[in-house]
Each structure stands twice: as C-alpha cells, then as structure tokens.
Symmetry: C2
Subunit: 200 residues, 2 copies
C-alpha cells in the first residue's frame, strides 16, 4: 500500500475544516490512508512571519467572504464561530492522546471538534468543551481531561507542531503526498491530479 | 453581452503570469471579454500588511517550488527570473498608455512583457527593456518611451492601483466577475464554475 497522505491542520482553521470533509475520501480513491495531524498555527505563523487571516486588512474581509462562499460551494454546513480564532491546544493534546491508542477514535473526535466549532459555534478553546465533545464520542472523559494537562501530551503537541514547521508547514491545511507539499483547501484538485498521474 | 471579467495583476507575479495563459480563453468560453489591469503590488502589500512571497520564511521556499510545479502542470514555459521580483512601474505605465488608444495592442504588449520576464529572463524593470518589448510588438518606441515618463501615465498607473486596493485587491492575480472577487491562479477552476452556474 502506498504511503499515507498527511493532513496537517489547526482546529481553528476554516479552510482545514472544509478540507476535512474531503481528504479521507480523496485518499481512499487512490488506495491511500490519511494521517490527521493537528498542530498549532501560532508557532507556525511566528516561524513564517505570517499572521491570522482575520486580522489582515483586505485579506481578512476577503477570507471571511470566501469561507461562506466555499461552504456553499462544497455544500458543507458552516458559520463563522464567535470567538474566532481560538486557541486549540486542548483539542490538539486530546487528539494526540487518543491517537496514541485509538487512531480511529482520534479521527472521529477530530471531526466532532470541527463540527462543534464550525457548525455548533461551541468554544473549543475551553477544556470543558473539548472534554464534552470527547465524552459524546464515547471517550473516557476523566482520562481525557487528565491527559490534556499531562506534560507528555503537552510535549507531544509541541513536538508535532515543531516537526511540521521543520518540514515547511506555514499554514492550514497543509498536505504531504510522498514528500510533496500542498498548501490550502483549494489545492485538493491539484493534489488529486498529482496522485492520479504520479506527479509531474 | 455580460460584463467583462477584470484581471488585476502585477507584471512581476508568477501566479499572474500563469493565469495570463488561461483567463482570456476562460472568459471567451462564457461569452465574456477580459479586461487586463496591471497594478503595482508594492502599495497593495503596504495596504494589506503583506510582503513579497519570496522574502517570507517557509512560504518563500514553498512558492518557489510551487511556481515550478505549476508551470509543469499547466505546460507553460517558466524560469524564475533574476532579479526577482522587480519594479514594474515602467511596464504598467506603458500598458495604460497603449490601452488608452489600442486595447488589443496593450494586451499583446502585456503578454510580451510576461514572456520577456518569465521565459526570457529579461529585466522588465528597465525602461529600455520595456521599450524594446513594445518596439518588437510594433509600438511606436519613441512615443512609448516618452509616455513612461509623462505625469499623466504615472498618475493613471497610481490611480488604477489605488482603485484596485479600494476594491479589496491585495494580491496578484485578482479577478472580479460581476463584482465577485477571486484571488489567485489556483481559483480559476472555482471562477469557471461560478460563471457556469451563475454563482452560488
């Protein structure tokens, strides 16, 4: 089986949320698995000199409009949450804890976090919300709450973010296919063609 | 006939160069004309707090790789010019001068400027190069050289740039279809679907 596609994202990224609705199906079409890899955009922005889209003059307004348009285009439920963006440390740590023992459950949890934020408008920066989302996915709520504060998962989350940045990840979503990087939900078409043709 | 598509670009933008190979054909497919509108990215970056891609950590390296990849994907000749990027004031002024009397010649001139820079590696920031490119397109070289320094075309170039920024243009290429803005060469597919469906 060919190497899995890697999907790097921050839980607070609308473009990652949109991509999350397509990437597994796309990977499966080419006999690939897809590894979801939550990271923190803050350090990536610091490393790349970038800043949050919403804060940027002109680009912020364009993006806000583009998210609405892209949701309608992809027929994906979406509402810009308030507050936006938020810190996603708790959600990312919870994911990595779950992933260490139950990768499938981790992915379901990640989908639920995205939906809670971009469909339900729930504040996923709150640890209690993250725990509630996990509990609704049949996770052990008490263990999940404990894991979020454990140094090992703090470190894991930081290490994954650092590793992503070291590989050139500066935005969300960011994909790797056999070492080839693709940035942005609007590159899924190009990524599919890359898989189809074996690259060019 | 429906309103023309507007194509805003800076002559020094690889993504605009790539888009220039597709946009007229795309517009024609939907019975639309396409207005080419050169502008200066410098003021747009200043207004949006953005900076040149090539100078950005991580994103610069990604873009350099992506331009090569996109050229191969689109089967468009391309070589990153040296120096890059360059000031495109002379080329933009020359375009607007030509466009005022011969829009068709202005578009041919623009294509020739793009080719000179991204295929030929000629330094299009030099006035003499711009004049030579115009002369090869059967423009009146002397009149073109004079126009580049005339206040009226300096002002026109600045006014077009300011007008673009006022409409939200922060990058290159940037398209408007019936008031709807699309940023980036990688949005041509979405733009085509927008035209096809009448929007969504």
């Amino acid at each position: 089986m060919p190497a899995p596609i890697e999907f790097f994202f921050d839980f607070s990224s609308p473009y990652a949320y949109f991509a999350s609705h397509r990437i597994d199906e796309l990977a499966a079409r080419f006999g690939r698995d897809c590894l979801w890899k939550p990271m923190l955009l803050g350090p990536a922005f610091k490393a790349s000199g970038n800043q949050r889209l919403i804060d940027q003059p002109l680009k912020g307004a364009y993006s806000t409009h583009d998210w609405e348009r892209m949701a309608r285009w992809m027929k994906v439920p979406y509402r810009l949450p308030e507050p936006f963006p938020v810190a996603t440390t708790s959600a990312a740590r919870a994911f990595w804890w779950l992933d260490s023992t139950e990768p499938r459950a981790a992915k379901s949890f990640a989908r639920a976090v995205f939906a809670a934020y971009f469909e339900g408008g729930r504040d996923i920066s709150a640890k209690a919300e993250v725990v509630a989302i996990g509990a609704a996915q049949a996770c052990d709520a008490q263990a999940l709450a404990a894991a979020i504060d454990e140094p090992v998962w703090k470190d894991k989350c930081r290490a994954e973010t650092d590793a992503a940045i070291a590989r050139g990840v500066f935005g969300s979503p960011f994909f790797f296919v056999d070492g080839e990087g693709f940035w942005g939900a609007d590159r899924l078409g190009m990524l599919a063609e890359w898989l189809e043709s074996g690259g060019w």
